[in-house]
Point group: C2
Chain length 134, copies 2
């Protein structure tokens, strides 16, 4: 069911410093910051040859990243995103096997303009998993 | 400098259950468990079309995964591994820019039989980064 790893998302306490570190110290290709008000984050995508890193920084007071950064002030790996062909079919299969979908359970439009869902970390070895329909 | 994302490693409290979940619930291609006594882990690699997931389970009493699982009993994302062409050149560049290399600072042979190093999470937004020479 799951296809490619679309990205690994890292919550960071200083977006500019983190982007500069990936660009200069680690020598990666870093895109311009992009505000995602519907998700409460500003993101910077880093293009690797086979996938992407997504740096996440809070946007707004009720950003879902605020709590994560309170618990992890240095930042940390926040989630990973797997591609699926049919997000509704994937959701229904996962729910039928007891996995919990976060929020309303209906896909939202993610940072790439495509439908996304998040799965409960407690059901997946403590990992927050995003599914993105491609 | 960094090339492909070689893998994302997930520490899990039950290796057999986690492998079965990736195989059956998430529909991925899961390889047989492999003991890595030099690293104190048993690993299961999951092949995605563009990268791999590495499930990690403690092997031995002084496994480096024991402490992580004590803090994160459900498991969690433990590290991510970037490929580099020349691990000594990469290490020396990173050290010259103030990044700390874990352990002796000399590469060890990793789960793929290739030289690896780990970078200090505090220097990289709370993320444990492995470099693997390919």
């Amino acid at each position: 069911m799951i296809g490619k790893l679309n990205h690994v998302a890292i919550a960071v306490p200083d977006l500019q410093a983190a982007a500069a570190q990936y660009e200069n110290t680690l020598g990666a290709t870093v895109r311009a910051p992009q505000d995602e008000p519907d998700h409460g984050v500003t993101v910077v995508f880093i293009d690797l040859p086979n996938t992407k890193i997504e740096l996440l920084y809070p946007l707004g007071d009720d950003s879902p990243i605020n709590g994560f950064l309170e618990k992890n002030p240095s930042g940390g790996i926040h989630h990973m995103c797997f591609e699926v062909e049919d997000i509704i079919a994937a959701r229904d299969k996962l729910k039928s096997e007891g996995a919990r979908v976060l929020g309303s359970g209906e896909p939202k439009i993610g940072a790439h303009g495509k439908p996304v869902l998040f799965l409960h970390p407690k059901d997946f070895n403590g990992c927050l998993i995003e599914l993105e329909q491609v």
